[in-house]
Amino acid sequence: MPLTTSLAAHEISCQRGGRLLFAGLNFTLAPGESLLVTGPNGVGKTSLLRMIAGLLPLHAGRIESGERSVPLPELCHYVGHLNGIKSALTLRENVDFWVDFLGGDGADLEGAYQTFGLAELKQLPAGLLSAGQKRKLALLRLFAAQRPIWLLDEPSVSLDTPSVKVLDKAIAHHLAQGGISVAASHTPLKVRFTRELSLKRDPLQ
């Protein structure tokens, strides 16, 4: 698994339910660069992130990484609105599954447990966690396996202020190591995003 890569979108467009959300979108991100996607609700921010992760088919155009040998979805961590947590499993079992399934080594995990303040809760069933703690658990996935592209959809929702700082630091660290981060967020993150993409509603639609 390469730890750095680039990401480029060429003339991509997105159609949902017969409606064209955006068209002719281009961006290029070199290793260490980040992109903040902004825009009003329903303009296609989540769709854009899901397209990069390979969860949504492209209507037109192409998205490619600098790494030809590995399919793009396998280079991506996608943390979306849904946390993807199994409430019947303990916190630790959830994380261990991600480590094994995503093919990571879990080397960064102990530190991440500590910084997110989840170290004491490892044996607790994930269903008992609060909304903010569940969010933090979902973010632990970023550390379960090292992947160069982080796709974060409203990552700071229901996080308290200290945790947002931790997240900020984590993103900054990831970028410093040559990772790429694409985030859609309404609440401002402290990270300086190198690029900003503002999606607008097409007045003709």
């Binding site: 992760a53 949504l56 979306g80 849904l82 199994k86 499993l89 079992e93 094994d100 093919g103």
Partner: protein, 222 residues
């Protein structure tokens, strides 16, 4: 390999912990078979003649009960997104989840069947073949159910639609499963030809169903 084992183990553990899945299927199977003699009366000859059919029909329905869980929970809580961005091909993910469903539903049901055979006066010499035939036929049920589960993903009250989609596909398994057990219990034909067809049905669904399920999953995620 590590990825596959992690996913399989997770699904089995979840089925066990979330309760319901294994318990409901076994309880349903027990109740349906137990009330059949009450409805038909105490004619032992009749009961032993229809026992293979009753046992198989009840098994099909019982294994359908938990079929929508194969993908539904993962879809609802977003875990399916993680499975799609993993390193395993989606076909293999579908196959592993079907396999976990078989281990947590098909095997327990097949092992319970001889006990229920007693309630229906099934001749005891037919018990070994009953268990073997059910262990052979139930993988086909789980793998075909996975196709139905992935097709009905995201629909509300998908359980009934799932049953409508999947039950017709269960017919071959039912026919050759019943034929195997009937041949073993009342004869006179040999049980092996229908049993071998049952094997073929399971093997074919093992190969084909994950491909269909993965295709349906990709559509469901759009």
């Amino acid at each position: 390999m590590k990825e596959a084992w992690a996913l399989f183990r997770r699904d089995v553990v979840l089925a066990w912990r979330e309760g319901g899945t294994i318990g409901t299927a076994l309880g349903f199977y027990l109740v349906v078979v137990a009330i059949t003699p009450l409805g038909l009366g105490p004619d032992l000859n009749l009961l032993s003649r229809i026992a293979p059919g009753v046992l198989w029909v009840a098994l099909l329905l019982a294994s359908l009960l938990s079929a929508d869980r194969i993908f539904h929970n993962d879809y609802e809580d977003g875990a399916l997104d993680v499975l799609v961005t993993g390193r395993l091909p989606l076909e293999l993910v579908a196959a592993l989840k079907s396999l976990a469903h078989w281990v947590t539903t098909g095997i327990p049901l097949a092992l319970l069947a001889p006990l229920l055979g007693l309630l229906l006066n099934l001749p005891t010499d037919a018990f070994p073949l009953l268990v073997v035939a059910m262990l052979t036929g139930t993988p086909a049920l789980s793998f075909v159910a996975a196709v139905g589960a992935s097709l009905t993903l995201g629909l509300r009250r998908s359980g009934v639609l799932l049953a409508l989609l999947v039950l017709p596909l269960y017919v071959p398994v039912l026919i050759f499963g019943v034929a195997t057990v009937s041949a073993a219990s009342v004869g006179p034909a040999s049980p092996w030809p229908p049993f071998l067809i049952l094997c073929a049905l399971s093997l074919a669904s093992l190969v084909l169903a994950p491909i269909a399920a993965a295709a349906a999953l990709r559509t469901a995620l759009r």
